[in-house]
Subunit: 611 residues, 2 copies
C-alpha cells in the first residue's frame, strides 16, 4: 500500500502519528524557505508542510500541479487553522517524499470553477472527473444506485440480468444493431429496454425483478439525450396499479432519505393525465407552485371533456380570440405591480421562436380592486372580471392570456408558467414534490400514417373497463378529421408516470397478459399477424403457458440523479458521456474499422461521397 491514510481522514486527535499519504498536488505555496502543498485525493485535501531541510530535494525535483506524490511525516496541529475543510486543524510535517508520477500542465484548471470549455473538458474527461463538482455527481450517482438496491433487496426484488444482444423489433425508436459474424447477413439489436424480458421473467415466476441497466436508442439527439442511458427497471407479478404505486413511491422516498437526508412524509399527490393537461398544459406538472391554467376557450375534446366553450372570450369583436382555436390564461401573483417594461419583456419572451406566440394579452387586477387590461377596448369590465375569476386571480395579480392553435398555445402557456415560477423563486431546488400522473390515453393518433400508436408501449394494458371497447371495435380510422370520435380515442391505459418537480423520473404500466388482447393490440397498431409473430412470437407464446397478471415501472436513472444533484443536465452525472452528436470526444468514437473486420462481417459501406 502506498499510503497509511487518505487525504480526508486525519484530524487533531491524530497529532503525533506518523503517516504516509499519496495523492495529487493541488497547490504548491512557498513562503521563504518553507513550502506548503495541498495534497488531494478522492477523500479530501490535506496540507503538507515541507521545512527547509527538504529544499535540496524540492529543488532537484520540483513539484507541479497534478503531480502524484507520496509523502511521509507526522500529523501536527496547524498554527493557522482552516475551518472550511475537515482536515483543516492539522498538517503533515513531512520527513520524506517521493514523486510517483509527474504531470504535464493540465489543459484546464482542476477546480470547481474551471477555465475549461465544454469540448476541452469532454476530450480530457479523465481530468474533468477530478474536479470536485463532477466527483460529487458521480458519488451521488453511486449513492442513488446503492440506496435503490438496498430498498429493492429489502422488498424481495432480485437483480436478474437480461441479454444485450437481442432481436431488432423497432417500434417507435430506432434500434442500434450489431452485425453477426457467425450468422452472416443477420443482426442482433441492442435493447431499448428489457421490457419483454422482464415480462417473461414474470411468466417464469420471478415475481419481483429489478435491474439497473444500460439501454440504447439510436435517435437524433437533443441537448439532453444520450444514445446509451441507464434505467432502474422493475417488474412485479400478482399486483394491481395500486401496489406498484405504493412500492415505488416507497423507493423514491427511501432514496430521498438515504441520499439527501430528506424525510418525505407526505402522501404522494395524484393527478389524472387529463387534469394535468387541462390545468398545467403538460403531462409532468411541476406542483411546487400553483398558477393553474384557465381554459377560456378550447376547440379540442382533450381527454373526452369539454371544459370551456369560449363564451368567456368569443363575440367581443376581438378577432384574435374569436379566431383562435384556444385561449388560455394564468394568474401571476404580484403581477399587477409590473412595469410596462416588464410586460413588454414578457411579450417578447412569448414571441421568441422557441415559444412561438404572436403576442400576450393581460389584465392587471390591481390591489385596490380596479382592472387594467390590454384588451379593455374589446371587453367590458364585467367580462374582464369573468376572465380574471376563471383564472382565479386575486387582487394584486396579473392575468396573462395566450391565444392560438391548441397544441402550441398549451405548450406556450405551460412554458410561461414554468418560466414565471422560476423567476418568482417558486421552483425551489431543495423542495421535492412528487406527483403520480395517472389514466393516460392508451393510444395516440399518428397523423402521418393515419393509425394508432401506443402512447406508452404495445404491452400496456387498457383499464379493465376499457378492454371490451378495445376488443369489440375495429381500430380502423375512417378519416383523420374523425379520429377523436373513434372509440379508441377514449380508451385509458393502466399506466402511470412519477413526476418530480416537473420532470418525469419514472413511468410504467400494468401489462397485457392475455394472448388475445396482446394480439388485438398489435393489430390496433397496424401490425399484420405475421409481423406480430415474427417480432413478438416468443411473448405471445409465453402468454399461452400461464402468464400471471403483472406490471412494472422504469426510472430514468441518469435524470433522477441529475435532479437529486440539483441539475437538469444528465451528462454531468455520467462518468463518460457522449456529446450531442453521439460522439465520445475522449475516445474519438465512433470511428472507422478495418477492412478485415468488414470482410468478416460480410458487410460493405455505401460510399457517402463518390470518389
Amino acid at each position: 500500500m502506498f499510503r497509511s491514510h487518505t487525504c480526508g481522514e486525519l484530524r487533531i486527535e491524530h497529532a503525533g502519528t506518523q503517516v504516509t499519504l499519496a495523492g495529487w498536488v493541488q497547490t504548491v505555496r512557498k513562503f521563504g524557505a518553507i513550502t506548503f502543498v495541498d495534497l488531494r485525493d478522492r477523500y479530501g485535501i490535506t496540507q503538507l508542510y515541507f521545512n527547509e531541510d527538504l529544499n535540496p530535494q524540492l529543488d532537484a525535483e520540483p513539484l507541479g500541479r497534478e503531480f502524484v506524490l507520496q509523502a511521509t511525516g507526522t500529523v501536527t496541529e496547524r498554527t493557522s487553522k482552516n475551518a472550511n475543510i475537515p482536515t483543516g486543524m492539522i498538517e503533515i510535517t513531512i520527513s520524506s517524499f517521493k514523486i510517483l508520477n509527474k504531470s504535464a500542465v493540465p489543459p484546464f484548471t482542476i477546480q470547481d470553477d474551471t477555465d475549461g470549455g465544454d469540448d476541452l473538458r469532454m476530450k480530457y474527461r479523465y481530468l474533468d472527473l477530478r474536479r470536485n463538482a463532477v466527483k460529487k455527481n458521480i458519488e451521488l450517482r453511486y449513492a442513488v444506485n446503492r440506496a435503490t438496491r438496498d430498498y429493492l433487496h429489502s422488498q424481495g426484488f432480485m437483480d436478474i440480468e437480461t441479454p444485450f444482444l437481442i432481436k431488432s423489433t423497432p417500434e417507435g425508436a430506432r434500434d442500434f444493431v450489431v452485425p453477426s459474424r457467425m450468422n452472416a447477413g443477420q443482426f442482433y439489436a441492442l435493447p431499448q429496454s428489457p421490457q419483454t424480458f422482464k415480462q417473461l421473467l414474470m411468466v417464469s415466476g420471478y415475481d419481483r425483478y429489478y435491474q439497473i441497466v444500460k439501454c440504447f436508442r439510436d435517435e437524433d439527439l437533443r441537448a439532453d439525450r444520450q444514445p446509451e442511458f441507464t434505467q432502474i427497471d422493475c417488474e412485479m407479478a400478482f399486483v394491481e396499479q395500486e401496489d406498484i404505486l405504493a412500492m415505488f413511491e416507497g423507493l423514491v422516498k427511501y432514496v430521498f432519505q438515504a441520499v439527501k437526508g430528506v424525510a418525505y412524509a407526505d402522501t404522494v399527490q395524484r393527478m389524472t393525465w387529463e387534469d394535468a393537461m387541462w390545468n398545467y398544459g403538460n403531462d409532468k406538472p411541476d406542483i411546487r407552485f400553483g398558477m393553474a391554467i384557465a381554459n377560456l376557450k378550447s376547440a379540442f375534446n382533450l381527454g373526452g371533456r369539454i371544459q370551456a366553450t369560449g363564451e368567456l372570450v368569443n363575440g367581443a369583436d376581438f378577432k384574435v380570440f374569436d379566431e383562435a382555436e384556444t385561449v388560455l390564461a394564468i394568474a401571476v401573483p404580484g403581477g399587477a405591480e409590473w412595469s410596462r417594461k416588464q410586460t413588454d419583456e414578457l411579450t417578447e419572451w412569448v414571441k421568441r421562436p422557441q415559444v412561438g406566440m404572436k403576442g400576450l394579452a393581460f389584465i392587471k387586477y390591481n390591489a385596490d380592486g380596479t382592472l387594467k387590461s390590454t384588451i379593455d377596448k374589446f371587453y367590458a369590465e364585467d367580462r374582464l372580471r369573468g376572465i380574471a375569476a376563471a383564472a382565479r386571480a386575486k387582487p394584486g395579480d396579473i392575468v396573462l392570456i395566450l391565444a392560438g392553435a391548441e397544441e402550441r398555445t398549451r405548450k406556450a402557456i405551460s412554458d410561461l408558467r414554468l418560466e414565471l415560477g422560476e423567476r418568482l423563486g417558486m421552483r425551489k431546488k431543495d423542495e421535492y414534490r412528487l406527483l403520480w400522473v395517472l389514466d393516460f390515453p392508451l393510444f395516440e393518433y399518428a397523423e402521418d400514417e393515419n393509425r394508432w400508436v401506443a402512447r406508452h408501449h404495445p404491452f400496456t394494458s387498457p383499464k379493465p373497463d376499457h378492454i371490451e371497447t378495445m376488443i369489440n371495435n375495429d381500430p380502423f380510422i375512417m378519416s383523420a378529421a374523425d379520429y377523436l370520435r373513434h372509440p379508441y380515442a377514449n380508451i385509458k391505459a393502466n399506466a402511470y408516470d412519477l413526476v418530480l418537480n416537473g420532470n418525469e423520473i419514472g413511468g410504467g404500466s400494468i401489462r397485457i397478459y392475455q394472448r388475445e388482447l396482446q394480439e388485438k393490440m398489435f393489430a390496433a397498431l397496424g401490425m399484420t399477424e405475421e409481423e406480430a409473430l415474427h417480432k413478438f412470437g416468443f411473448l405471445l407464446g409465453a402468454f399461452e403457458y400461464g402468464a400471471p397478471p403483472h406490471g412494472g415501472i422504469a426510472f430514468g436513472f441518469d435524470r433522477l440523479c441529475a435532479i437529486l444533484g440539483g441539475s437538469e443536465t444528465i451528462r454531468d452525472f455520467i462518468a463518460f458521456p457522449k456529446n450531442n452528436s453521439g460522439r465520445d470526444m475522449m475516445l474519438d468514437a465512433p470511428s472507422t474499422i478495418d477492412d478485415k473486420q468488414l470482410a468478416e462481417l460480410r458487410i460493405r459501406l455505401e460510399k457517402v461521397n463518390p470518389e
Copy 2:
C-alpha cells in the same frame, strides 16, 4: 394485490387464518369427490384442498398444469403431513377460487428431472426458468451479486458505469461492432472489458472502482462460452500486488460465507506460474488433491528452469522415451491393485483423440514393495525405482507415464490427473480450495507472426525488477527457434489469477502507469507509434497528467456462480443464454433487419449465396 401470502410462507401457526394465494398449478389430484392442488410460486409449494362444494365450479372450469390460480381459504392442519417441504404441515381449505390465466400443455414437464431436451428448453426458456433446478441457480446468482456488492461497498468501492458504445481496438479477441447512423461509415464497438475506462478512473482519482458488467467477445464459441458474459470488474489505486491479493481473497471468502455458509479460514495458497506448469501441467491447478507431476524428461526450458534432463529414462534403448521431447509421470494412490482391464481402459482413455497420446506406460509399486511394469524389459529394477521415486510413489501406487511432444504431453497428463482425481472422488463438490497463481510471463510468443503477444493484456506491468530488461532490449526476434533465448521470454508480469477448484475465477494485474513504458509495450507487441496513438492515444495522454500506481482484477461472474452452484456449465446460471452458435433460440436472434434500417446505416450486405 392478488394474494395475502406467498406459497412458501404458511406454517402450522397460521392455522385458522383466512388467506389468498396466487400461483401456478403444479399438480391436480382427485380423490373421489375431493381435489388436492399443489400451488407453486417462487417461494414454494402449498397444498390446496377443494371439498365437494367446489366441484360444480371445478367441473365448469377444470384446472390444468401451469394454470395461474388465485384461491382463498383457511389455513388448516394437514392430516397427512409432508416433512419434505416447509409448508408440509398445513393445507388451505379453499372457499373460492379464480383462474387468472389458463395454460396450454407445456412442451416439457416443469420438474427437476424434466423430459425436455436442450433445444426445447432453450426455445421455451421462460418455462425452463420455472423449474426449481434453474430457479435455484438464478437465485444463487443474485446472492453472489448481492454479497459482492456488500463486500465491495464496505471496502469503499464505488460502482461507476462505463460506456458500452466505445471504440474498436481489437487486440486478441474480435470486437462486436455497431454501425453509427449519425456518423455514416463509422462504428462503435461493444467493450470486451472496461479495462481502459477503469484505468482512466484511477487517473481521475476514484481509487476504488467496481462494476458487475456485461462484456462482449465475438469469438467462435466453445461449449461453455457466451458472446456476452458478465464480469465483476475492479480496480484500485495506490496499491501493490499484495494489497490486491488481500482485498480480493477477502471478497471470495465473504461470498463463500454469505452464499454457501462456508467459513474459509485458511490462508489462500500461492503458487508461481512455473510451479503450476511443472507440477500440475496447467496454470489453474486443482489443489484439492495431490498427484503432482514428475518431470522425467523435458526438452523445453519452461519458465527458465531445467528440472529434468532425461537421465531417468534416456539410454535404455526404449525408443519411445528416447525420441520423446517430454516424459511425464504421476503416481496414483491404490493403483497397484488395478486389474488389466482397468489399465487397458485407461490406455484407451489417453489414446482418445481429445487426449491424443500414443500409449500409456506404468509401473505398479506393489504393497509388498515389488515392482511390475510395462517397460521392465527396457529398464532394470533400480531405474524403475528411480522413476517411481521421482513420482513420489508409495507402496500400493501405480506410476502412470506419458511421453510425446512437450505441450500435448503436458496437457494430457494434466487431463489424466484430473480424470483420476474425479474417479477417485478426490474432487469433492463441497470442498473449496483457492489458489493464487503468480508471476506469469509478461509475453507469449506468437509463432505465426513471429512476434510477442501480451499474455494477460497490453496494460499489465512487468515485475519492477524486469522493467529495465524490457526498456533496454529490442523486442525483435531474430528467428523463431531462438525466441526462448530472447530476454523478453523471461520477463515476468505483475499478474495474478485466482483459481478455485481448478477453474480460473479471476485474473488481474498491476498496470503500467508510465507513458514511456506503455509505449514500449505497444511497440513490443508490434504496434507502430501511429497505431498506438490511434487506438490508445487517450490512455497515453492520461498517463501524462499524473497517473497513480494502480492495479485490478476481473472475475468471471458466470463461472464463479456456476462453480458455487456445483456445475461447470455457465449457461445454466444465465437467465437468457445463447446457444453454441451465439443464437438466442427463444427470440430467434440474430435475424435479418429491414432494408430501411440498412439504408439508414448506409451499409450493404454481401451476398452470401449468389441469387
